[in-house]
């Protein structure tokens, strides 16, 4: 137990620290790197509670795909972040004040009581013990049955996001050369090559 606790605090501490760094680092590339660090530690927390599937997904999707994509975007865009941060110090005091108040209030909440534990036991679905059903299988069991509605709705959200991305970015530029495989394949020799008899010494 003690090891688990120590691990939890290490992971949690690193998450908070790297999250602060994400927003305070001057170099945007550093920000993204700290974000990746936060993701990794998040995955560690998942492992701690026995959700190894989620931990893997976290690493693969967030670190492997999302963060790397961020990195590309950050590196390819030429944005002067220093300029964007102008006024940061100007608003810092009041922003900090509000943030601190919120923090204190949220800490205060921790002291409050949980609702009746009995209802808690009834209402939440018992998680099958990891020895009986492994994590991936447990998820698979409910994903297409109990949570089919949410799963499909999630699909719709992704579809919408995709449509949105296409609508807002796809442009049909005239005059651009595109590779059309069918056209390439169906080309005949006669279309592109013309054989001319050249009489030697006569020139073309």
């Amino acid at each position: 137990m003690i090891i688990q606790s120590i691990a939890f605090y290490i992971f949690a501490g690193i998450i908070i620290a790297s999250a602060i760094m994400v927003i305070s680092a001057k170099n945007p590339v550093h920000s993204v790197l700290f974000l990746i660090l936060a993701f990794f530690n998040g995955a560690g927390l998942f492992v701690l509670v026995g959700a190894e599937f989620l931990a893997m997904i976290m690493v693969i999707v967030y670190v492997g795909a999302v963060a790397v994509l961020f990195m590309f975007v950050v590196m390819m865009l030429d944005i002067n972040f220093v300029e964007l941060r102008q006024g940061f110090l100007q608003y810092l005091p009041i922003g900090l004040l509000i943030g601190l108040i919120l923090l204190v209030e949220l800490i205060l909440i921790l002291s409050s009581q949980f609702e009746d534990p009995q209802i808690l036991a009834v209402s939440s679905l018992p998680i099958p013990p990891i020895e009986e059903v492994e994590n991936t299988k447990a998820l698979g069991n409910v994903l297409y049955t109990k949570y089919i509605y949410l799963f499909q709705s999630g699909g719709l959200i992704l579809l919408t996001a995709m449509i949105g991305a296409i609508v807002l970015t796809l442009r049909s530029r005239p005059g651009i050369k595109k590779q059309v495989i069918a056209k390439q394949v169906s080309r005949k020799r006669e279309d592109s090559v013309e054989i001319k008899k050249v009489t030697p010494g006569a020139g073309v």
Binding site: Y91, I94, I98, L102, E105, L108
Partner: protein, 643 residues
């Protein structure tokens, strides 16, 4: 269906005429309104004759539609038909129909004929609504409806400032009465929990002598209610103190004066009190007050009439005086006599008005009798009409007024109280004055040397048929309505005729006593009237300079009468000027300085300032917006943590 058509034909005609007058044209509008009122009048007569000859009491209540149904307050649009209603139907529709036809000639040259006829029909409808109501609210609706039409018609010639002023005066003075009336209706609802006649009248006996506490005064419930109602009647029927609007209302076209200010609307007060007889019977104080008011009015108006020079004003004061007679009868519980007088009066007074209208028409809209005279050869029919009307008014035998007016005087004599005694002497004296001013009118207008200017004289012409035929028909009524109906309406078996529509407490009925009076008393009013006629002849034919001598000798009295007892001046001094001053003060100081300064102007300036500040908040910067959101959340969370 019959009754519905009687009531709604004029209403429909007014609606059609009002909405489509531009499309349909003047002629059609005039025709359609007159025709529908005439049909309604013929139907009324049919019902009336059926009532007389069948000896069956009609008592029907037709609900048109539910109006308000809210808790205890529940009543309908309905037509309640009983004897009283039918008598009123006859009076209203027949006079209205004749006035409609008369107006064909009278209003011939007016460019707004269509509007005039629309108002007339609308008035008829409102009046029929009033008399056929089965609850106080519909009564009030009709009451205000006729008031509105009266206002519109008095001010019909809206380009004349005096007409506008008269219209406003009539409206405002009526408002005083209506305020009392409305309070009375509210009081009825307060105590009786209902506004339908049936419920209220059935409960009335339970409230006899009951008191309630108001401003630490112990007041009798029924007395308060009936007094409030009677204040309304005083306004509408131009009784003493609230009479000032009626003479001024003569600014309206003469047919209007005949219909509204002689035959129908002004009698609505009498009708209302008679309708509410089951309430008034239990309020003896109010009845005495009514008698007193009626007696004073009868005398006062007659006294003013003898010195007025405007032909229509003389008749207007005469109307006022005759209404006083009706209230005398009402106050003495002789409701049948009051309605009978209302019935006959409608005919002869409308006749007098129409005849005077004919005179005015003939002399190019001149109303001052000092500028008339010697017209009888030129206007023979009109002259005859005025004679018939005056004879009826003065109560000369055979003519209708004799039966109705003299009956009231007899009833006043038969009454035993000091109030009725007072009323008797007042009525008797007023009868003398009535005869006097009627013949003063005849002599000044038709006899003697003409005082008309030459240019006008050449245009003088007798009324066209459209005007003379309605007058002749009214003259029939003025002559025969008394002799034909006296038996039915006030005879020994009158209760069979009236059925439940009138209510007299046992022992208060004076009609029988009046019938049994000695012959000498019965003939007394006639003699008095004849004396009045003779005196008028002596003053205005025989010795023309006598009036002037008397007037000069009694200058203060003459001026007192000429200025109508200085009522207008008194009201101006006591009410109009202070309220005008108060209004001016509130306008300049109260409204413009205080309220506008602090209120609208100051407030709008403040709002504008705040609005400017709020608009500045909208900076367009994303992090400002996000910050405001977070600040909002923090605010709410803190609210819960701290409160």
């Amino acid at each position: 269906m019959l009754y519905i058509s009687i009531v709604f034909l004029p209403g429909l005609a007014a609606l059609t005429a009002g909405v489509f007058s531009r499309i349909l044209g003047h002629g059609f509008v005039m025709f359609i309104t007159s025709l529908s009122v005439s049909i309604s009048s013929i139907l009324s007569f049919y019902v009336f004759l059926k009532l007389i000859f069948s000896h069956k009491i009609i008592n029907e209540n037709i609900t048109i539609l539910e109006w308000i149904n809210s808790g205890d307050l529940s009543f309908s649009w309905s037509i309640m038909v009983d004897t009283l209603t039918i008598v009123m139907f006859v009076v209203v529709t027949s006079v209205s129909a004749l006035v409609h036809w008369y107006s064909f000639g009278y209003m011939k040259k007016d460019p707004h004929k269509a509007r005039f006829f629309t108002y007339l029909s609308l008035f008829t409808f409102a009046m029929l609504m009033l008399v056929s109501s089965d609850n106080f609210v519909q009564l009030f609706f009709g009451w205000e409806g006729v008031g509105l039409c009266s206002y519109l018609l008095i001010g019909f010639w809206f380009k004349k400032p005096s007409a506008n002023a008269a219209a406003i005066k009539a409206f405002i003075v009526n408002r005083v009465g209506d305020f009392g009336f409305a309070l009375g209706i509210m009081a009825i609802f307060l105590f009786f929990n209902s506004v339908t006649y049936e419920n209220v009248f059935n409960q009335a006996v339970n409230f006899e002598g009951k008191k309630f506490l108001f401003l630490s005064m112990n007041l009798d419930i029924l007395t308060v209610i009936t007094m409030l109602l009677f204040i309304g009647a005083m306004g509408k029927s131009a009784q003493f103190l609230l009479h000032t609007w009626l003479p001024d209302a003569m600014e309206g076209p003469t047919p209007v004066s005949a219909l509204i200010h002689a035959a129908t609307m002004v009698t609505a007060g009498v009708f209302m009190v008679v309708r509410c007889s089951p309430l008034f019977e239990y309020a003896p104080f109010t009845l005495n007050f009514i008698t007193l008011t009626g007696a004073i009015t009868a005398f006062f108006a007659a006294s003013v009439a003898i010195v007025q020079n405007d032909i229509k004003r003389v008749i207007a004061y005469s109307t006022c005086s005759q209404l006083g007679y009706m209230f005398i009868a009402v106050g003495l519980s002789a409701y049948s006599a009051a309605i009978f007088h209302l019935f006959t009066h409608a005919f002869f007074k409308a006749l007098l008005f129409l005849a005077s209208g004919s005179v005015i028409h003939a002399v190019s809209d001149e109303q001052d009798m000092r500028k008339m005279g010697g017209l009888y050869t030129l206007l023979p029919i009109t002259y005859l009409m005025v004679w018939i009307g005056s004879l009826a008014l003065a109560g000369i035998p055979i003519f209708s007024g004799f039966f109705s007016k003299d009956l009231i005087i007899e009833i006043a004599y038969a009454g035993s109280s000091s109030i009725s005694n007072f009323a008797f002497w007042m009525a008797l004296f007023a009868a003398f004055l009535t005869a006097f001013y009627s013949w003063r009118l005849i002599f000044m207008t038709f006899h003697g040397k003409t005082r008309i200017e030459k240019s006008v004289m050449s245009h003088v012409h007798e009324a066209p048929f459209s005007m003379s035929i309605p007058m002749i028909l009214l003259a029939m009524g003025a002559i025969f309505s008394g002799i034909l109906c006296v038996g039915v309406m006030t005879g020994h078996h009158n209760s069979e005729f009236w059925g439940n529509s009138l209510f007299v407490l046992a022992g208060r009925d004076l009609i029988e006593a009046a019938h049994d009076l000695h012959f000498s008393l019965k003939i007394l009013p006639v003699i008095i009237s004849i004396l009045g006629i003779l005196l008028a002849w002596y003053f205005y034919i025989y010795k023309i300079n006598i009036p002037k001598i008397i007037a000069n000798a009694n200058q203060p009295l003459y001026l007192f009468l000429l200025n109508k007892w200085y009522f207008d001046e008194m009201y101006n001094y006591l009410i109009v000027n202070p309220s005008r001053w108060l209004g001016y003060f509130l306008w300049k100081k109260g409204d413009e300085t205080v309220i506008d300064g602090i209120g609208p102007d100051g407030f709008s300036a403040m709002i504008n300032g705040i609005s400017k500040k709020i608009a500045l908040l909208q900076s367009g910067l994303l992090y400002h917006y996000a910050f405001v959101m977070l600040a909002g959340v923090v605010l709410f969370v803190s609210w819960f943590l701290l409160v």
